[in-house]
Symmetry: C2
Subunit: 273 residues, 2 copies
């Protein structure tokens, strides 16, 4: 292989690292692949780390020693996060988004891959220390956010269904009280979907009463799995008394304004970043 | 801003281009952002193009002239595609994947973000010339594939639901004959979900009789939208007579082998690449 220039090596390194976040790569593997000395790769990585920091592309983390190596960690700075959330709030205030009953139409936004990918990196940044083994969501609208969060953690995404499907094999179901409509609903998950003692991060689009998230806790208990975090895109201000204490929302929906627009703003967690 | 080295510029350029496939960037914008001359950026891009080609990372496409610029096109070579599909076939042959009734359990595979992302790039490569404005899927299991395909095209993803939801606003529904179970089912989509005269690419996880895809054609007619392609992850060999002629599958499922394993292999489209 003809010798590569530094810029070419850096692009390939960036690609390999960013495609599989949190995976440990050894300098020796990189040196083999790129036909360069380990000391050269080390210099490439130092430059890459600086460029990533300066342009807010995420973090290149190196760990020393025989078992060491280098990994990529998606990271959104507080100012990047606030800018993203404020931009999305502006979109949510657009006329026509509030439907009868006060429902907020936001599926188009969170199904835009670019938006979902950025939000996934935000959730990964906020929940990084929770180190989930998988990202869980409830069908249907939260799936894009959950998938992109799972991508940023490089872990599988698992979708809870309302009803079991014949294509799923043996399943576990629990009933739960929906916080918003106060009716009993079911959620079901195939037995093999979650390994025992898994650490799961629950990501959803919307949280009103918190009944669904509470049901997820109950369901995970049946799997001997631990819910290590709950992240939602939009929470409602009311009821103030949610059915669970610990969750994190990006946007707070406070009701409908005088001209029919949604009253939304960055949540208290985002304000405090 | 202190002057950047070539490697740093190339990493930032690669990131900006790859984050938003098919978006045209001008050299002048890049020059401004990176504090370099346009001729320098032009050299950076030439090196980036070569590195992307050599390592199979996709294509950097430049268009000349006043309205010209540079864009990124995700691209999987035939050999990359065959390797990916063969690896997934091996996973689908694992014991325990065939459920009673011959149903093939594959949700875990296509919900793994890395796998979905690679398949999305494969679909984008295969359907690139169709130039869709949006990627459409039917809830639930196809969503990860559709989202990652939409990401590779940098267009929105739209999910058809079985039932309308109050949070969706006014909707259009059609009934269709499910090819596999020969029962009448409904599919529904909010009126505002698809702009008139949109070019839509339908992506789904599984195709047996083709009834769903046929229903999608009917539904899109109501939106004055055009189905410019249909791509599925797995098709069944039987019935040989599908309810539609034009679609593309990556994997063909031929039935269950002597020891209960799925008989799967690359489809004729993949074989012909």
């Amino acid at each position: 292989m003809p010798r590569l220039r530094r810029g070419e090596r850096m692009v390939v390194l960036a690609h390999l690292l960013m495609q599989a976040p949190d995976r440990l790569h050894s300098l020796a593997d990189f040196a083999d692949l790129l036909g360069a000395a380990k000391s050269t790769i080390s210099e490439d990585l130092a430059l890459l780390r600086a460029a990533c920091e300066r342009f807010g592309l995420g973090r290149i983390v190196t760990s020393p020693g025989a078992s060491g190596g280098v990994r990529f960690q998606p990271h959104r700075t507080p100012s990047q996060t606030r800018r993203l959330v404020e931009g999305l709030c502006a979109r949510l205030r657009e006329p026509g988004r509030v439907l009868p009953g006060g429902f907020l139409q936001m599926t188009d936004l969170i199904s835009t891959p670019q938006v979902a990918a950025e939000l996934g990196e935000v959730f990964a940044t906020l929940f990084w220390d929770a180190r989930p083994d998988c990202v869980l969501t409830m069908e249907v609208k939260g799936i894009p956010l959950a998938l992109m969060t799972a991508r940023a953690f490089n872990v599988p995404m698992v979708t809870i269904r309302r009803e079991g499907k014949i294509t799923d094999g043996p399943s576990v179901s629990v009933n739960y009280l929906s916080g918003s409509s106060q009716i009993v609903q079911a959620m079901t998950l195939p037995l093999r979907a979650i390994p025992s003692r898994a650490r799961v991060l629950f990501i959803d689009d919307f949280l009103r009463g918190g009944g669904t998230a509470r049901g997820v806790h109950d369901l995970m208990r049946e799997f001997q799995a631990e819910v290590v975090g709950i992240g939602v895109f939009v929470e409602t201000e009311r009821p103030a008394d949610k059915m669970l204490d610990r969750y994190l929302a990006l946007i707070t929906y406070r009701g409908v304004g005088a001209s029919g627009e949604a009253l939304v703003g960055p949540s208290r967690w985002i304000e405090a970043l």
